[in-house]
């Protein structure tokens, strides 16, 4: 009798490893084989990128490319769950690829340890079948969208902030809109909040990232039930999610329209008026005479107790503050009347100096501008670099966040 008297749709090792996936109707052997023949690019190895890479690696994707120039930091670990404490300081793209490989040695990983920009995106993207946008800023989101359209690659786009997440598939099928069809113009940079400022909970990015991995599996398996042309809104605080129908592709879209004006990547930092990262910009609104550095303030407060106004939101004030600080948020500096501000601060007509502090030294400058209009008899000065600088230069025991 011949030794091989069966017909197999898949290798013995794959059948064993992926059996629970192979049993799922509409995925099955063909889905598994298609996934193995698919190359997926993950842009952003952060809170979204970790679950996307982990689930796609485990599911047996053929090739996984990971783009990120950043290094793992301690304040990433609460949500970027693929990383371990001893990886802090290492490259994210390399660290994530290593972890995927440890979990499933059959996956080919490609590390792109670069900052994605107009000069390198086409060259990187052209080797992939599906791209996942797991980034944290508007400029990179437009760049990824345009390059996906130019190379005709479906884009699985996730985003998250605080308690909320959003998910869609762009440029997948003739009627499906791209990101630019929905948002032809970028938002005003001053109205954009990122995770560095607004915060985000780990399970929120975990949920959205896991669903991005699922969309990739459906696209790879050629299923028709993807989120193309739809937007999923997830509200983790209320425990609600809903999926809305989006407009169709805009024939006048600058990149995917019938007569596109964008035929190569443009300057996205210029287009968005904001940098291609989620770092905080350093403002300079005040003259040197209206500012003190942290060492100067330390001397001043040691000599005599000072009035210190802390503009941060109450949740940040609660993490830690100097004992003399009085919490009046930037919004309150705007909306309160002069007499209300005076009584909250506890100042009187004899008070000549008030110092203003915030997290990193931007809002404190904005507050000084507002406050000197309202309380002209007081000399307001901001503390350069805020609590972050304080923790770095004056007291490294101060809880930095």
């Amino acid at each position: 009798m011949e030794n091989k008297d069966w017909v197999a749709g898949i290798s013995k090792s794959d059948a064993g490893r992926y059996s629970r996936q192979l049993l799922v109707d509409d995925f099955g052997v063909s889905g598994q084989k298609n996934l193995k023949n698919t190359a997926v690019l993950i842009v952003g190895a952060g809170g979204l990128g970790c679950p996307v890479a982990t689930y796609l690696g485990a599911a047996g994707v053929g090739t996984l490319g990971i783009v990120d120039y950043d290094r793992i930091s301690l304040d990433n670990l609460h949500r970027q769950v693929a990383y371990k404490e001893d990886q802090v300081g290492q490259s994210k793209s390399q660290g994530l690829a290593d972890n995927v490989k440890l979990q499933n040695s059959g996956v080919t990983t490609v590390v792109h340890n670069v900052s994605l920009d107009s000069s390198n995106a086409m060259e990187i993207f052209k080797n992939y079948d599906i791209v996942c946008d797991c980034t944290d800023n508007v400029a990179t989101r437009y760049l990824i969208n345009d390059v996906c359209v130019l190379l005709n690659i479906p884009l699985v786009s996730g985003s998250a902030l605080r308690w909320d997440g959003q998910l869609s598939v762009y440029h997948y099928g003739p009627d499906c809109p791209c990101y630019r069809c929905l948002f032809p113009s970028p938002p005003d940079p001053s109205s954009v909040t990122n995770c560095n400022e607004g915060g985000v909970l780990g399970p929120i990015v975990g949920t959205i990232g896991s669903m991005q991995a699922l969309e990739v599996m459906k696209i790879a398996a050629k299923l028709s039930t993807t989120l193309a042309g739809k937007l999923l809104l997830f509200d983790g605080r209320e425990g609600k999610s809903r999926t809305i129908r989006l407009r169709k592709r805009d024939p006048k879209c600058a990149v995917c329209g019938d007569e596109p004006s964008i035929t190569a990547p443009i300057d996205y930092v210029l287009f968005c008026g904001a940098g291609a990262h989620d770092k905080i910009e350093n403002l300079k609104l005040l003259e040197p005479s209206d500012r003190v550095n942290v060492h100067e303030y330390q001397e001043i407060r040691t000599a005599r107790k000072q009035f210190l106004l802390d503009t941060r939101p109450p949740v940040e004030f609660e993490i830690a503050h100097l004992p003399e600080a009085i919490n009046i948020t930037l919004n309150e500096c705007r909306s309160l009347r002069a007499d209300e501000l005076s009584s909250r601060l506890g100042v009187d007509s004899q008070t000549s100096d008030v110092y203003v502090i915030c997290h990193r030294g931007n809002d404190s400058q904005r507050a000084v501008v507002l406050l000197r209009e309202k309380l002209g008899s007081i000399h307001f000065r901001d503390i350069i670099g805020g609590y972050e600088e304080w923790a770095l230069k004056v007291n490294d025991e101060f809880p930095l966040y």
């Binding site: 990128g49 948002f183 938002p187 005003d188 809104l233």
Partner: protein, 101 residues
């Protein structure tokens, strides 16, 4: 006095920080279009007027870039956009898009 209709106005993705409550049941004039609702929101619902630019443009003729409007969970881009007439019982949603990850 012109008659009014009940509608629900709902804010999501960060737009809720500019108003008193995420979901609000209000009365708006009959035969209002979405364009009228934008002005209604500006005049009656936005409490944080200093950050109005996160939600609406200067004269409240359009939503800010990065905001999508829905009527009963359908993108108004599939309806008649700002000319869509609002019916009694409709839910109008303002979704600010998120960029973090």
């Amino acid at each position: 006095m012109a008659s009014t209709i009940p509608v629900t106005i709902d804010f999501s993705g960060g737009a809720e920080f500019l108003v008193k409550a995420k979901v609000q049941k209000v009365q708006i004039p009959e035969d209002s279009t979405l364009r009228d609702v934008l002005k209604f929101v500006r005049d009656n619902l936005v409490t944080d007027v200093h950050r109005m630019n996160m939600l609406l443009n200067e004269d409240a003729s359009e939503v800010a870039h990065g905001v999508i409007t829905l009527i009963n969970d359908t993108d108004t881009g599939l309806l008649s956009e700002y000319d869509t007439t609002i019916e009694a019982g409709d839910t109008i949603t303002f979704v600010s898009t998120l960029h973090g990850g």
